[in-house]
Symmetry: C2
Subunit: 223 residues, 2 copies
DNA sequence: GCCTTACCCGTACGGCGTATAGTTGTCAAC
DNA sequence: GTTGACAACTATACGCCGTACGGGTAAGGC
């Protein structure tokens, strides 16, 4: 009865497993010890491949960046291109719910795939007529708009089961409904939509519409 | 030689000190042990006033919410009112750099002052002609736009000294400038504006403009 | 005099990131 | 075929963290 041979560890394998763990149980579940255990290895083994936990997390972020599709339809107008990029970003961030948290630490947006995405966005904005300063700010804003949209999705809290999420929503809704209607008429009225963690499409569509419309307004005003 | 009498602890005093600590050294400096030491008290003393650290942090968040000015100019039109609210939010978040991180945990946006702010925003949006669903989504979006603007300010990293921040900026700028210009022409071109952590007014003005313009466009399209 | 209540301390547990030093498997050089 | 170097790990330990549990102690009511 031979020991089940564990394949050699590799940076990529660790990152893959770490990302899967983050996706499944939230970023706070990604600890050196837990990840090592999942990989059937001693905690300190990871330090052979990564200088620190932060470098490991940077590895996760890097991998997430590679998943976003930076292809823009050359025949579309620039608002459609911008929208496409933002939607691609959102798609990736939604499949990796902890990635948004990850991308906040500034030095995790400097990997090469991140640069490429940034470059493409800047190019689109350049063609839209924005100068370097505005293009930079708007590209930055687009990234954070995507992150915020994902993190502000009602009921967003990575690592929760669907049942827990539903219960949270129910509680939030009840709490809102039971507010004094004379002091909080609008809140009571909006109890349901404010906590609607069911169909998120409305949330994302409105968010993207808002952003693109804003940029278009700026472009029009800038001329 | 009498012991220097320490005044009795109170919830408010702990929150005050905690917020000051967060402002000065970042949220990760706010540990039970450190905060207790600052207050001249044993860690477990804080647990008399708060059930858990999370409840303490909720206390910080609550206090931050009370600082935002929810007064809207009744003579202004709704875009100006919306802008005023957002600017007030941003002002507070900027004076408490760690507050943005704090407000992410959903249950820290349910205190009474938070509700009031929300109610006011919903009222403004209602008068702008949005239905409950859109008003709810846009109010939500406004809050997160404020948070995002603060956290996406170039060089944002609470608990850093000005010198460290300047050094970070310098490094980021150099790294961008040294990219291969044939692969990243726009990035190289935007090296300076992308890392401009000096005058932040441009950043915030553009962010608010973007948001308000977006909402106005939505209002116009909705009619 | 006693008891309750509010407030605080001491100790301990399990988990975290990681510094430091030791162990093993692999494989080229002699 | 032995040796030695090096890559890839393991073992142990340190100092943090949040916090459960079980006291202690001064003030005030009876």
């Amino acid at each position: 009865m031979s020991e089940t041979e564990r394949p050699r560890l590799s940076k990529a394998a660790v990152v893959k497993r770490g990302l899967a763990l983050a996706d499944a149980e939230g970023l706070e579940a990604v600890t050196i010890r837990r990840l090592a255990a999942d990989l059937g290895v001693t905690p300190m083994a990871l330090y052979w491949h990564f200088r620190s936990k932060d470098e490991l997390l940077a590895g996760l972020a890097d991998r997430v960046w590679t998943e976003i599709d930076v292809h823009v339809d050359p025949d579309a107008d620039w608002p459609a291109q911008l929208r496409g990029l933002l939607e691609s970003l959102i798609r990736v961030l939604r499949t990796h719910p902890s990635a948004s948290q990850l991308l906040f630490s500034g030095e995790k947006r400097t990997s090469e795939p991140a640069m490429i995405a940034n470059e493409v966005a800047l190019e689109v904005l350049h063609r839209a007529g924005f100068d370097a300063e505005h293009a930079a700010a708007i590209a930055h804003s687009a990234l954070f708009t995507g992150i915020m949209l994902v993190m502000s999705e009602p009921g967003f809290e990575p690592g929760l089961t669907d049942a827990e999420r539903a219960e949270h929503q129910r509680l939030a809704r009840v709490r809102l409904s039971l507010l004094p209607p004379d002091k909080f008429p609008r809140l009571v009225e909006c109890a349901v939509p404010m906590t609607a963690s069911d169909n998120p499409d409305f949330h994302y569509k409105l968010g993207v519409d808002l952003f693109v419309a804003g940029v278009q307004a700026l472009a029009a005003a800038g001329t």
